[in-house]
Symmetry: C2
Subunit: 376 residues, 2 copies
Amino acid sequence: MASLGPVSAQFMRFEQPLPLQSGTVLPDYTLAYETYGTLNATRSNAVLVCHALNAGHHVAGIDDKGSAGWWDNLVGPGKPLDTDRFFVIGINNPGSCFGSTGPMHLNPATGRAWGADFPVVTVEDWVDAQARLVERLGITQLAAVLGGSLGGMQALAWTLRYPDRVRHCIAVATAPNLSAQNIAFNEVARRAIVTDPEFHGGHFYEHGVVPRRGLRVARMIGHITYLSDDAMEAKFGREMREAERHWSTQEIEFQIESYLRHQGDKFSDYFDANTYLLITRALDYFDPAREHGGDLARAFAVARGKRFLLVSFTTDWRFAPARSREIVKALVDNRIDVSYAEIDAPHGHDAFLLDDERYHRVMRAYFERVGQGCDV
Amino acid sequence: MASLGPVSAQFMRFEQPLPLQSGTVLPDYTLAYETYGTLNATRSNAVLVCHALNAGHHVAGIDDKGSAGWWDNLVGPGKPLDTDRFFVIGINNPGSCFGSTGPMHLNPATGRAWGADFPVVTVEDWVDAQARLVERLGITQLAAVLGGSLGGMQALAWTLRYPDRVRHCIAVATAPNLSAQNIAFNEVARRAIVTDPEFHGGHFYEHGVVPRRGLRVARMIGHITYLSDDAMEAKFGREMREAERHWSTQEIEFQIESYLRHQGDKFSDYFDANTYLLITRALDYFDPAREHGGDLARAFAVARGKRFLLVSFTTDWRFAPARSREIVKALVDNRIDVSYAEIDAPHGHDAFLLDDERYHRVMRAYFERVGQGCDV
């Protein structure tokens, strides 16, 4: 299938402060975004793609640096989310480190980088920021909002916050909130970062350093939770890097150690430590049932009339199928139209980013349906 | 049931160097140990208890500091491992930080603390050290060797290394080797420790500091893997410390965060960073099938005639029941007498230390059988 070819980020500035769930505001900010395909005359074919922790607006195509978008296998001409048919929007959320206003940018109130003082943002705040951008693009109703993992939470939040502005919600490998174990992993990663002496209370930019040690540990923990136990066993098992043991506690003996260290090193080269804190915290806080006494079905009452596709993966132990089923049940309890696919895939949480045939077939079929609702 | 009351550590010095699997030796060393109960006239009622990461020779009773032994619920007068009947020995392994020679002690060759230069020790090395001590106590054959988790690996290794010196092996919540995921968690913990600037290449003793940040992160990761997802959910769920959110990435919001930080803080007060590296590495290396081309059944051929009890816990995802079943299969393939109990317990890996009625009933019944083989 053809790829989109070169794509470029666009930037939209918002001078009107964004009110945040925490009670404060995000003043004057800029969002990076990309679009693929063509908005039709009735502006009814727009699909918004929401990103997770380590991604941004560059969803598909090849950017200026020669990098393919993070969901390029799914989004493009002739692909399951077909850019010949849909107008697809990728937005980088505020607080991230891939182009939109984030902790590495200047706090207008102090004239220094925001650092750890960047306001705490939530899934709902991101959805509000996205809604403003979508509105400025002249789109009053999205054909669909789509996301995986944390992106799936944003897709769900759209149907709760702006039910009139979205027709379909596609939420992949996601959960209605984090479990204690999910929060625990986030907390360990955050502690690794903030206790790194080079974190400097989040103002490391001024010191010309990066809390790399903390970021490396955070990423290594993340990678363990993204892969299934079985996938890790199949890929690495107990394979040694060399035939002979080194009898060392610090040298690399096993291939899995080499893999994790490499992932940690790479990540610490480009990811922002304050962004890591902000995004993991947004994950922790997400809990739409909370203001409904813990009743998820009541939370989704407002989404009646929307249509949903939920997808989970059997070996995903980060956001296990049971978590998606909780959402399906809450939707069914509201007699909301929901399709649900539990894909038997070995790759764990990472599966949502991979090119699994059965998964992509489900996505393609669903987007066929989304397309039927668009005036073309 | 009565407790053992006050117990005291004893120390045994070994001037003869201990040859290690790595090819080097541990020179002149001391082992801390405790014993409970009375060795019978034929010296046939001795049971050795092997410890895991965060434990030592203080298995049962109350020590000088008023602390109960780590397996006091299992070992004592009238308890499943009945000290009225058995002579029970707890030994602290070399390299540990609870009394036996370890990295915080002086390296005779340099006159400074061993630090990270303490020789890498393996499960087999520990068993060799234990065997010497048992021999000095005048015991030529143990009635049984018992351990959980890493202790279970030692119990298994006894039957492979000294099959004539042990009649029964009781291995609880253990595995024939670590999976890639197990190694991955160990590696992240080690990286957190060695990249802590206060680790000083393992010679932090000389700097009067402790790599607390690394130890805290290591322990937090450990705790996540000791508890089952369900147990953590039942105990903490999404419970907040206070009703109102603080909207902070660094303050404690959730009870699970508070719990983990507390566990990390406590641990960093007393556990040695070099010991953490050594013990996790011993776990990584353990793999009795390795020298038999990966064939575990062939590894256990030498243990024919021994009797085994294997116990696992349904929610243990660190050393899942499937790992115990691999051992059971290897034993059965050798027509070795093995009992296996898979206990339906909610607590995850930690269950092996807890007072679960069904679990303790199995242990009691098995020790009845062990006792029948002792001349009394």
